[in-house]
C-alpha cells in the first residue's frame, strides 16, 4: 500500500502482479480491500493490478470541501495511472466504479484497452432504479458505522448468501472495517453517482466491453446492465444467476473464467 499525490488528493493505492496493466475501480464508499482476494490472486498471475481507494473513500486523503461528478473520479483515475506509469490498461469496474469507468472510456478512450462494467448503470432517465425501500436504506445516514455496516451488508448480499455464506459476509465486514468511509464523503459520492448520465454517449465507446451483473441485484437492478450492453457497440453481456450486487466479492468461479476469457491474455 502506498500513497501517491494526485491533484488535491493523496491517493492510497496498491500495485501487485506482473503483466499487462489492469486498473480496478471500486464502487460507492468502497475501499480497495473490498476486492475479493481470490479475484486479485487470479488476476495477479497474468496482470499488473492497480487497485486504489477512490476520492472520499477508504484511506485516500481527500479535502473536506467540494462536490464531485463521476468525471472527477475518472480524472483522478487517469492521473493516478499516469503517476504510476500506466499508459493504457484494461479497466475492471463495479457499481459506482462502473460509472467512473464509463466516463473514463468516453473522455480518455486512448487509456482503455478493454472495459469491464460490473453491476452498474448509465444514469438519469435510462436507469432502472432500486425500490424505494432499498434507496432509503442506501441513503439512511442514521446511527454510526455499526448501523451503516449492517445496512450495507443487507443491500450487498442476497438473503440466501447472508444465511448460507457467513464466511463471505464476515470477510466483507472485515474488509469494510479496514477503512470505513465517513458519512460526509459517502453522501458526496452518492451525489456523484446520482448525477451520472452517459446513456446518449455510450454508442461512442469503441472499446471491447464486457458487461456483467448479478441477476438478483436489488441495489442496481440487472436491467441496467442490459441497457448498457445494448448501447455500447459489440458489448458482451453476462448475467449470473443467484448473485446480488456483491457478486464479484462472492466470487463465482464462472466470473473469473469469463473475465480471463474476455481479456484473452491482453
Amino acid at each position: 500500500m502506498e500513497f501517491v499525490e494526485v491533484g488535491d488528493l493523496s491517493m492510497c493505492c496498491e500495485l501487485t502482479g506482473e503483466g499487462y496493466p489492469i486498473v480496478l475501480i471500486q464502487g460507492l464508499t468502497a475501499n480497495m480491500d473490498w476486492w475479493d482476494p481470490g479475484l486479485l490472486s487470479a488476476l495477479s498471475e497474468r496482470y499488473r493490478i492497480l487497485a486504489f481507494d477512490n476520492r472520499g473513500a477508504g484511506r485516500t486523503v481527500t479535502p473536506e470541501a467540494g462536490d464531485w461528478t463521476c468525471e472527477t473520479f475518472a480524472d483522478d483515475t487517469v492521473a493516478l495511472m499516469e503517476a504510476t506509469g500506466i499508459e493504457r490498461a484494461n479497466v475492471l469496474s463495479v457499481s459506482m466504479g462502473g460509472m467512473i469507468a464509463q466516463e473514463l472510456a468516453l473522455k480518455y478512450p486512448e487509456k482503455v484497452n478493454k472495459l469491464i462494467l460490473g453491476s452498474t448503470f448509465c444514469g438519469a432517465a435510462h436507469t432502472v432504479y432500486a425500490s424505494q425501500e432499498v434507496l432509503e436504506k442506501l441513503t439512511d445516514t442514521s446511527g454510526g458505522p455499526e448501523e451503516v455496516l449492517q445496512r450495507t451488508t443487507e443491500l450487498m448480499f442476497t438473503p440466501d448468501s447472508l444465511k448460507e455464506q457467513p464466511e463471505v459476509v464476515e470477510g466483507f465486514k472485515i474488509a469494510w472495517m479496514r477503512a470505513p468511509t465517513s458519512k460526509h464523503n459517502a453522501m458526496r459520492q452518492y451525489m456523484a453517482a446520482a448525477k451520472i448520465d452517459t446513456y446518449n454517449r455510450l454508442p461512442e465507446i469503441n472499446i471491447s466491453t464486457l458487461v456483467v451483473t448479478g441477476k438478483e441485484d436489488i441495489l442496481i437492478p440487472p436491467e441496467n446492465s442490459r441497457i448498457i450492453a445494448e448501447r455500447i457497440p459489440g458489448a458482451k453481456l453476462i448475467e449470473y444467476e443467484g448473485y446480488g450486487h456483491s457478486f464479484i466479492s462472492r466470487m463465482p468461479e464462472a466470473f473469473i473464467n469469463d473475465l480471463l476469457e474476455f481479456l484473452g491474455g491482453s
Partner: protein, 264 residues
Amino acid sequence: MAYAKVADLNINYELLGEGHPLILIMGLTGSLDWWDPGFLDSLAERFRILIFDNRGAGRTATPDDGEITIGQMAGDAAGLMDALDIDSAYVLGISMGGMIAQELVLNHPGKVDKLVLAATNCGASGSVYATLDVIKKLADRSGTPEKQVERYCSLLFCEAWLESHEDDVHEFTNRYLAAPANDPNAARQFVATVKFDACGQLPTIEKPTLVACGKEDVIIPPENSKIIAGRIPGAKLIEYEEAGHGFIWERRDDFLSDLKEFLG
C-alpha cells in the same frame, strides 16, 4: 478534519476550542474519534485542544514499511506541533498515548508545560504486565468488526460499567468503527509499546505531572501508575474506583474536574 504533512506521514488532526493548547494523545490502535465528545466539549471551553491520529492509526496516511517506535510517534507529535505553530502545550496521553507523552517530554521538554499520564506504564524494565489471558485477548483481531469491538470493550471497561451503560458502549463502538487501524499497523503499534522503556529516565522529568488510572484496569494494571508517580518528582497520583483501563470514559466527569484543577 484536517491533514498536516509531518515526516513521512499525512497526519489527520482536529483543533477545537480556544485557550492554552492541550494535546490529547490516544492509545493503541485508537483514532481521534475515540475521544468522548462530551469530554472534548468540556475541555474546549477552556483550552485549545489538538487531537490527532497516531502513526498507523485512524486516517493518518502511514507508509506500510518499517518498524514503529514510541520515540518516533513522540517525534510525530512534536512535528505536528511545529506544523501548527504550537510552541508548547499541556500534554495528556492515555495508555500507549501516555508512553508517547513520556518520550515527548523526555526528548522535547520545551514543548511540554504540564503532563498528564493516564492508564499507562513506563515500559519494559519497571512495569507490571497484564495477565496472559488479557494480552491474548488484546492481540486477537479475529472475527467481524462487531466481535472485535465487543472483545476490546470487555477489556477496556469494567463489567459493572459495561452492564449499566449500554448506550455509551454502543456509541463507543461506533466511534471505534469510524476509522479502525488495520491489522499490520495494530501489530506494529503493539510492538512499539512492548519495546518502550522510559523507567530509568522518569526522575529527570521536571514538569508538573498528574498520573491517573482506574483501579480495575486489566490492560495496564494500576500498579504501573503508582510506579510512574513514584519516579517522577512531585507527580500527583489519582486512582479511580470502579473504573478500568477506560476510566476517562467510565469516570469522565470526575476525571474532568480533577484534570481542570490540575491544569488550572
